[in-house]
Amino acid sequence: MVLCERCENKEATVTISRITNEKKHKIHLCSDCAAEEGYFAWSFEPQFPVHSLLKSLLNDMSGKAASQRLTPGRTVSSDCPNCGRSYSDFSRTGFLGCGQCYETFSDTIKPLLRRIQGGTVHRGSRPGEQSEAARSDIRQQMSDTKHRIKKLKRQLKEAVDMEEYERAAELRDMIAQLEGEDHE
């Protein structure tokens, strides 16, 4: 009898294969632990079927790719010069090996992005942007009373938003006390 690798108690009846860092692991679990695994994998984050999307995309492109293979000096399956990621590793897992891979495999990634994303140009935040504002917000030195009151009021608003009325009452008392001190 093979014991479940997680609880080490019941007989392992389910084998789950998973790919982690390119290595295929097989884990043997009892039915209870397998159900738990399913639960946790789910409760955590959605997994998008990028492999299957990639596969269908590659099938669509195979005609084009075949003709490219005939072109001298141009190979579809060249490895990433920076990290060594092979094209087959990328197409098998949907995972890239470094930032430069996006250039290396751009022929595949561009049509993929058009299919899975809402656009091809980033419109969100950038490194360093607003960082001063955010820093001063999170780092505000609350040494003097006015700052401390301001901070408490912010927490009060949060507590009310969160419907944490007990905490809100506590904060209100603290603010009233500090405001009293401030006027002295």
Partner: protein
């Protein structure tokens, strides 16, 4: 089993305290940002020394967060290699790290804020995954907190970023903002009336995804579903969250009306289901996770419809987490076989209900 219990085992995570906006339908909100170091290969191509380099940056980040945090919060860094198997699974059971992170425990880690509202996974699919967890429907708070942590990350880590593509992630499904926002929704009303399919069909066209649990009946999984944004590139963080908020608002509205309709149409059946759940949970001496989950879901519905009133607001979130195997064993301080766990699980829930 370690001598000393890890401090994150017994403490109540912020999201587990329940409440928050739309708490009758939305159990919790998570926003996560994926970030990678510019000059280090991503985890799939990472050598051991690269992984160690990232872990060392995580230590620096932890120091920065500690210095910057406002008084009441403390951050701690846990290399998973320094935790025993039970404590690693406790992190998974509290939704703070993924099962995948545990699989690579030798070279992975996690930074936790003392209320677990911030959890940063190190060397998972990406080098850094900042996650913020709130109770109820709290996309804005979660996103803002995640972005604050992100700003501090940039002081320590030179992130892989491209002018056109945004943040470069291991998987192209996370490219751009690197942001995935999701909520855990309790949808027993839509399940009862068989309306879930209608509600979720067509959501993917507007950039959202709903996921339930695999296989078996959703009932045994507590009627829980996860709703998240699908798109990460081409929209700003706040646009993505606003779109998701609209989708979720609609689902919340439909779930509430489904509950009222079900209650109106089959009042006796529904009350019977709720009171049976209450009866079993307050009396059972042994209970399996699946059965407990099904009954807790019925009890939560009963509470939200005011069929039962003497059940505390956080019971569902607390119990669905605390009854899991690793947490039960962590609390017992010893490993337990499934039968012993069933006994402890029954007593845990019984006592929580009798206290509330």
């Amino acid at each position: 089993m370690s001598e000393k219990q890890a401090p994150f085992a017994e403490r109540s995570s912020f999201w587990m305290r329940g409440g928050g906006p739309s708490a009758d339908v939305i159990v919790s909100t998570r926003v996560r940002l994926a970030r990678n170091h510019k000059n280090v290969p991503f985890p799939p191509e990472m050598a051991k020394e690269h992984a160690e380099q990232v872990l060392s940056l995580a230590r620096d980040l932890n120091d920065c967060l500690r210095r910057d945090s406002e008084g009441e919060y403390v951050f701690d860094f846990w290399p998973l290699s320094e935790l025993d198997e039970t404590d690693r699974w406790v992190l998974v059971e509290k939704h703070l790290v993924s099962p995948q992170l545990v699989k690579t425990a030798a070279l992975s880690g996690v930074i936790l804020r003392s209320d677990d509202a911030v959890s940063i996974m190190i060397n998972e699919e990406d080098h850094f995954r900042i996650q913020c967890l709130f109770p109820g429907l709290n996309l804005t708070h979660s996103r803002e907190l995640a972005q604050q942590v992100d700003h501090i990350l940039h002081e320590v880590v030179n992130c892989a970023f491209d002018e056109q593509l945004g943040y470069l992630t291991t998987c192209p499904t996370n490219l751009g903002t690197g942001m995935r926002s999701s909520v855990m929704a309790h949808l027993p009303g839509l399940v009862m009336l068989n309306r879930l399919e209608d509600v979720i069909s067509g959501l993917s066209e507007i950039g959202a995804t709903v996921r339930g649990l695999y296989g078996e009946g959703t009932e045994s999984r507590g009627d829980l579903f996860q709703i998240s944004n699908r798109i990460t590139l081409g929209q700003s963080e706040s646009e993505i969250c606003a779109n998701l908020q609209a989708v979720i608002g609609e689902i919340v509205r439909k779930e509430r009306s489904a509950r009222e309709e079900a209650y109106g149409r089959r009042r006796d059946e529904l009350e019977d289901k709720v009171f049976r759940a209450y009866g079993i949970l307050t009396n059972a001496r042994m209970i399996e996770t699946k059965e407990a989950m099904r009954l807790l879901s019925a009890l939560k519905l009963g509470r939200d419809l005011n069929i039962v009133t003497h059940v505390s607001q956080d019971l569902f979130s607390q119990m669905m987490i605390r009854m899991r195997p690793a947490l039960i064993q962590s609390r017992a301080g010893t490993s337990l076989d499934p039968r012993q766990r069933d006994i402890r699980r029954a007593s845990l829930i019984r006592n929580a209900l009798l206290d509330s």
